[in-house]
Symmetry: D2
Subunit: 298 residues, 4 copies
């Protein structure tokens, strides 16, 4: 029963290494979460326990994989950003996507009792699917993160308005949806301001006073107590996109760290505090004040 | 803060639908399981609790996804076979791989306490990565499954011999490994018989009396109490590879079931008993007596 | 000026080997041929010289690549079918597509003067783009070829009718198009018969008397003077899709020919006559009487 | 004979659009050119007629496709660089590779008689295969081109030395190869200088006096009589890699030109002179003095 006669089937496996010099995003999404959230009576428009659980799971993922430089989450999705130079799993797409999705899903399931005590999980258990997306330029990556945060804002503004009309205004969901659609059609382009006004004038809710965790989503990254190593300190925050002046060949730029240096850097990252903040990542402020997050690796 | 200016980043997402008319295998593998099994003192060469847990998780995966026609597991890996005609998730590779990997991983984590009571899981939690592989012909799929079962046999025979030498024979692991290597080099091609003999003559162990669950691995599939629908009853067991006689166009063969029929079939599958057996799947017997497993869908 | 510092760019090249055990079709299409045919006053609806040139080029392509088992052409397109077991260029998609497309294009350009004497080619010169498509089952391949021949029929019937209305009926192109559209809308499902009738009743043209080269397109394949080797003679014409009975492992089926045998077979193919016929390839007759074309390779 | 029953085969065609925001290189290579060059008695180490023909073909390719910003050729290969923003053929890889490969191959075949009069082409005719490669950063693209030019230098130095030893030194090819290998092994790292010295001391050939067309290869690009439009004039030569400061969203950077502007730009490119030069493209000088070649498109 030697297996040599069957081994040809391995030739059907394909290599799935992702192109070098691209930022890798692994985005995960809750599977069937509209049903799931009803089954567990999630508060509307936002359930703080659920968001805290998402963030707790994401923090563990970031801690475990030091090549993740930043993660952004909102609703039932999370995006994990691997540095463009990562060689984790030889950049194999399926390894990356399934490892992140399973690590997150298991964290979510095992931490659930702490956030939803007295509501034990029943089948189908919550899971998160995942995919990889490549971004060639730092600009593309920034725009991707901006896209997700803008999406968070738009959805949350809509949901907050909708649920205020239902919960505080006593409208039926159907009536609220109809009225919102009408406004949206009449006021294309001024959507946000309009909805702000509805919220304020009807329900005395000032949207800008809503908690930032709902309006901005959650950003997960490393904070260092010690200053970053000297090669990074003087770095222009945008330097990761600045190629060396062309006289310097690429090799100089990405000369791999020596093994000792790399190990030292890995340990430094492992020791760093992984924090969660609810802040604007569309404008430059966040990135300018934390240059190490997207810095090129010397 | 409209997000339209950022939406171009979606163009970087690629379509990952798998080619039609191919059998889809999703194979999952335990991440870092050699460390993990040491951490939890798994019995060597096989830990029955661990195998039972793998199988319990696999059964739930098969129950949840009716397009999985058969699954095969051994050691810390499991292969789930989707019918060549499945349209689940539009055959998107990442959806398939991550959904199976996360569902399995969460089942494994949540069922753990029943199989390892008193040994609560600590981080890093066990997870399983996953990948998809396509097999164009039924013959290829059968050979794939044969490959995995032959691999199970070879590994288990080696491990049983090795651990007998250590546990019963009092050899050090290094000494046992050396002696086995020597034999292997001297007896290429007669490996299995040799190891059988060592086991028997030294430790009075007849390998063929070892439990089938270790020697054959585990096969998960559906058993039906009611006979399969009439279209399948008269079917030649190999019919899934027999194209219609070429005068019949393909359309006839794969004419999609009507919506009512498809729903009825789905329910029939959901009601079926999902069973685990430890049997030979390299020879034809298993498949011939269960023609519905790989049958084409009329 | 060593180039080692730049060699990392090779890592950006991706492997494009096509999946094993699939039939490979390379289809080429004339680039901008509606303009090109006007520039050279091609006869309408069909220009015999142009079709003869296409076929002459295709014959040379088939002669040069013995792993092409059959080719089918119509209008300004040609499909070249590589045997599912071919290892030409390690099955690399770009090698296959560009080699076939360039060989065909150069043949077309260099043979042009024989078919269009006195009409020298000017820029932009005619070229043909190309692509690869995989078909896992022989049934899929047969259906692909049927699709192209049915397409030939439908287009040719339409064009013959249209140009008869214009050339013989004295209608303007616009009027002819309108009238045809009206008929098509009124007679969905009975399209061909209708057009046949228009042709016949108005212009006394019996479509079935139109030359087969226009109605059926062109099939290019090998004819052998000597009978095929004994392993093939007793073969069921559909055997390429019949897997061996599952007790025979795959290895037996596709055991590679010995080097001497393979070389002998290659020479036999090179010596074969490459012929062009205009025959039905949708029904089984053509294939049944030439079993060697799609036969599995023993 | 409706073809609807066969149309499902189209589902087997896969989408091959290349990722946005990447530079696209189509590299073509002569098929079987070591045999071909012997058949037509190409001069060794370099045949000026052959190189002139390669360049003449490349110039026509660049003229025909205005989205090619630069091309680089040496020996029997040519690399055509499409701007990272090109939307030609919807960035479909096979369309791009086969169109360039066929256009080049047909030009080569049809211009052959002007460069090799009295030596008519016989079968197998010369053809060039092709492939696409993506480079995410301008730095990667520059390094790719440097890699090809460094390769040209290394090969040409070796070939010039080797053929001098044979043609002027009267050595057999085998003896020359052996002696060169010995030197190479003894003098790793100082290779070029060594070979220069051999050339000079033995054959009184100063390699640096060899024609630049052999030492540098050929660069094909557009020269404009009119200054480029004002948006480009003040541009930093490396600006294509400089993202806008992050406060400017991506949209601003790549806002597509208006239709009129785009058409005007296309015409401007079509009118430009396409030139061939044999110059260094590894250092910055070439690029700094021709900023329009790699400039971003505003």
């Amino acid at each position: 029963m030697a297996n040599s006669e069957f081994q040809y089937v391995r030739l059907h496996e394909t290599w799935d290494g992702l192109a070098p010099d691209n930022w890798i995003v692994v985005r995960i999404d809750g599977k069937g979460f509209s049903k799931f959230t009803k089954r567990y009576d999630f508060a509307k428009p936002n359930d703080r326990r659920a968001i805290d659980l998402m963030n707790a799971a994401a923090v563990e993922v970031v801690k475990q994989f030091v090549d993740i430089v930043v993660a952004y989450g909102q609703s039932d999705e999370y995006s994990f950003v691997f540095h463009e130079d990562t060689t984790l799993f030889d950049r194999r797409a399926f390894k990356l996507a399934t490892t992140i999705a399973t690590t997150f899903s298991v964290e979510y399931a095992l931490q659930w009792p702490q956030f939803f005590p007295g509501q034990p999980l029943t089948r189908p258990f919550p899971t998160f699917d995942g995919r990889t997306v490549l971004y060639p330029k730092l600009r593309n990556l920034r725009d991707y993160l901006s896209w997700r945060q803008a999406d968070c804002h738009i959805n949350n503004l809509y949901n907050t308005t909708f649920w205020s009309m239902v919960q505080l205004g006593g409208m039926t969901p159907t009536a609220a949806e109809l009225e919102l659609k009408k406004w949206l059609n009449q006021n294309q382009g001024t959507v946000s301001a309009d909805k702000n006004e509805i919220l304020f004038s009807r329900f005395k809710i000032n949207y800008n006073n809503e908690p930032e965790v709902y309006r901005k989503g959650s950003v997960v990254f490393r904070e260092f107590d010690d200053p970053p190593p000297s090669t990074d300190t003087n770095i222009d925050p945008h330097s990761a996109t600045n190629p060396p002046t062309p006289t310097q060949p690429h090799q100089t730029q990405t000369k791999p760290l020596s093994k000792t240096q790399a190990e030292k850097e890995r340990k430094r990252r492992q020791k760093a505090r992984v924090v969660v903040e609810h802040v604007d990542i569309i404008k430059d402020g966040f990135w300018d004040s934390r240059p190490w997050i997207l810095a090129s690796r010397g």
